[in-house]
């Protein structure tokens, strides 16, 4: 059955493929020329958007796999989070806080209707609060939920709840995309418990879910009953495209109008599309910080000199710039200074300095033995393991870069890629040496970040357990949440953030930004102030 032809055959295959690959390169430069001329040919009143995952079940009180941007299109909060952390009235026209900081009274807007025409009032607000509180376990990450003692309908448009103890970030937390947003009466299941799902996704938001095909697409149409300014486009279609590269290709072909998000496309692809000049692009303000957490429970990392040495030997500027292709900038602080209370943190800025790093390691007793390339102390090599989420390309690339970087000062970094659930589990069980993390960003920080630092079971409290000033830090964190005085709060935050940073177990890497790229006929695009919210407010397409 076999012939000498086989030899030629194999050769032929390779010749063909070499030609193909040559053509591939040849064509690449042309692909750039593709214009937006063949942009979305569908209704000019529809914006086609893509998202890596299905929008989910559209339950305002549920988490994964529901997607926050979609939840925020349909459901609204009492208070909205605006630029710079400013809190503005939304479904609540105004609110009052009692002097002891325990009672919160909300005066609701009276002209709000749910998309099915039913009215929005204190009754339905209470009903939503109650089902959230019934499932308190799920929402305990939010500081305010476990503190709510009782909820009360004062009159048709006045709602009140009381806390067990004062908690200043209460209003901030009500601005989150989930879980404190409001489902219409008809959306509740018979027993009123939304933890197992909702009947219909009925909200007060500017958009209504029209059609949903799991894993394929979801379309949202304008809510004609909307109380606020009506969106100018009629429909938003969300195509589910898990693969980043496919998303870029679809955009280039005009199958999509807008790409928005964090890490939704490769940054090099973003820059390349931008350079063609055929599309509009924009980059947001920093929305969160990428950080590296060192577990001080591990003997090696319990030594502050080792932690600092690693920080000094981290060429942040260069790595961040090239890994993120200049999209992100290196971070010196755990929270970007544009966040509330984060502007005047006093901590030593650590600049790249290999000599200093080596000096610190020498001082800490980690010496480079003759003829070896890994430092040792008492015969033990300096080996550290870094855990990262294998599905996150930036974490992966940074891990590889750090490994190569620290090898230069004689530190052996073992990198371990795991799936997200494993990463979370190992982090919270304190089964790690180093881990990547990202702060939650707007609207959660700074209160949420320091809250999880102080709470057991998230990973941070355990990770910083050998800080010498740990007790002081924890008590400061406990106090700051109960402060009612603005100046005192500012001082406490400055002190907490400064000492967290000074101790060096939490290494800021870079400030994360969102990107958006859209066809030329899309106008009025703006980033949401709330990192998790949808970006469609005011957006326009066509003439």
């Amino acid at each position: 059955m076999l012939h000498t032809k086989n030899k030629k055959l194999v050769l032929l295959i390779f010749i063909i493929f070499l030609t193909v690959s040559t053509v591939l390169i040849g064509c690449t430069s042309e692909s750039v020329e593709k214009s937006e001329a063949d942009a979305a040919t569908e209704s000019s009143d529809m914006i086609t958007f893509s998202w890596p995952r299905d929008v989910g079940e559209m339950n305002p009180h549920a988490y994964n796999p529901s997607q926050m941007f979609a939840q925020s299109m349909v459901y609204e909060p009492l208070v909205s989070y605006e630029e710079g952390g400013e809190l503005k009235p939304h479904l609540a026209e105004s609110w009052e806080v009692s002097d002891d900081g325990k009672a919160y009274i909300f005066h609701l807007r009276q002209d709000v209707k749910f998309s099915d025409g039913s009215s929005f009032n204190a009754e339905i607000v209470k009903k939503n609060f109650d089902t959230i509180l019934d499932n308190g376990d799920r929402h305990s990450w939010l500081g305010v939920i476990p503190l709510i003692d009782q909820t009360e309908v004062v009159d048709e448009y006045t709602f009140k709840f009381t806390l067990n103890e004062p908690y200043y970030p209460t209003i901030q937390e009500l601005a989150n995309v989930r879980p404190v947003r409001f489902l219409g009466e008809a959306g509740f299941p018979e027993d009123g418990d939304t933890s197992e799902g909702v009947e219909q996704p009925i909200g007060t938001g500017p958009w209504v879910l029209e059609e949903h095909k799991a894993d394929q697409y979801a379309t949202f149409k304008r809510n004609e009953n909307y109380w606020g300014e009506h969106p100018s486009v009629e429909q938003i279609k969300v195509n589910v495209i898990p693969d980043a590269e496919t998303r870029v290709l679809a955009f280039e072909k005009g199958e999509l109008d807008v790409i928005f998000g964090e890490g939704v496309i490769n940054i090099d692809a973003f820059n390349q599309l931008k350079s063609t000049g055929s599309y509009e692009t924009s980059i947001s303000e920093p929305v969160a910080t990428r950080i590296l957490v060192m577990n001080t429970n591990e003997e090696t990392l319990s030594d502050i000199e080792v932690r600092q040495a690693l920080h000094y030997a981290f060429n942040k500027q260069e790595i961040v710039e090239s890994v993120t292709s200049n999209l992100e900038e290196k971070a010196d602080n755990i929270l970007s200074p544009n966040f509330p209370y984060a502007s005047n943190v006093e901590a030593t800025t650590i600049d790249y300095d290999v000599n200093k790093a080596e000096q610190l390691l020498d001082d800490a007793g980690w010496k480079m033995p003759e003829g070896k390339d890994i430092r040792e102390k008492d015969g033990k090599p300096l080996e550290i393991e870094l855990m990262y989420n294998s599905a996150e390309s930036i974490q992966k690339i940074m891990a590889e870069a750090l490994q190569s970087e620290w090898a230069k000062i004689g530190v052996k970094l073992n990198i371990d890629g795991v799936e997200l659930p494993t990463q979370v589990e190992r982090f919270s069980n304190n089964e790690f040496e180093m881990n990547f993390y990202s702060t939650s960003g707007a609207p959660y920080d700074p209160h949420y970040f320091i809250n999880i630092v102080a709470t057991e079971g998230f990973g941070f409290r355990e990770a910083i357990s050998s800080y010498p000033n740990k007790d002081e830090l924890l008590s400061q964190i406990a106090t700051v949440q109960q402060t009612t005085d603005e100046n005192e709060r500012q001082e406490l935050y400055t002190s907490i953030l400064s000492s967290l940073q000074e101790q060096g177990a939490i290494v800021p890497i870079s400030y994360i930004r969102q990107i958006a790229i859209y066809q030329k006929d899309v106008s009025n695009f703006s980033f949401p102030a709330n990192r998790d919210a949808h970006p469609f407010t005011g957006i326009n397409i066509g003439e």
Binding site: T4, N6, K7, F17, I25, I319, S322, S390, E419
Partner: protein, 283 residues
Amino acid sequence: MIERLGVMVRSQKVMVFCSVILGLLLLITIFAPWIAPHDPTLVNVTAKLQGSSLAYPLGTDHLGRCTLSRMLYGARTSLGSATLIFMSSLSIGLIIGLIAGYKGGWVDQVLMRFADGVMAFPDLLLVLGLVGIWGAGLKQVLIALIFVQWVYYARVIRGVVLSLKEQSYITAAKISGSSQWKIMMKHIIPNVLPPLAIMGTLEIGWAIMHLSSMSFLGLGVQPPIPEWGAMIHEGKSYIRTNPLLMVYPGLMIMLVVVTFNLLGETLSERFGLNIDNKEGRIK
């Protein structure tokens, strides 16, 4: 007869051709550290995504690592893993096949029913399932691939043992009082080795393909270890700007798999073994 001779001559040529390619691959595998112009894991972010140059003959990847070096070391990972899978599943299959065939009875029943159970799954799917539950990583993928592979060897060996058992010289050996193990070693093993070697050649191509599929899905080899499938996985993000990053490793996978398949087929034809065409495996 003349026809037969023709086959011999032609297969000779194919074998020479395949051997040359395999020899080259083997050299690469062994001497990768000396041939490769750079350390395959050395990151140099300032030189990322470069085209080919004297310093980097095939350019650099998204971390500024030398693509050529990664390809060469990738041969190590792929061929090394494939060989490991082959050897391990062969050993397990050999032991279990011998036991099942020789002992017969309920031992045979239990072992072969278990093998049926494993074979009830399409192979890559069981691998995916195992990795899904145990977590991603080279180790898990290797274990999973061995787990689905040994059954085929076990069945072949069991078959050979069963047919040999009936033959007079084994019976004679038994009567003459040779111990069971002696009989196995002396008569059975030499008889089963040639078909196993051929199966192995085909399986190595199979293993390389599956390992790279797993790595492509992000479930196999984890960074920074260079592996072809993983390189395609990483390179696919740059298909528009640097398509060669994923073209090269794809070509390598093809080259290796074609070579092993050709060799396996030629060998089996030469030794007059019957390939079970339905699955591309030997019966």
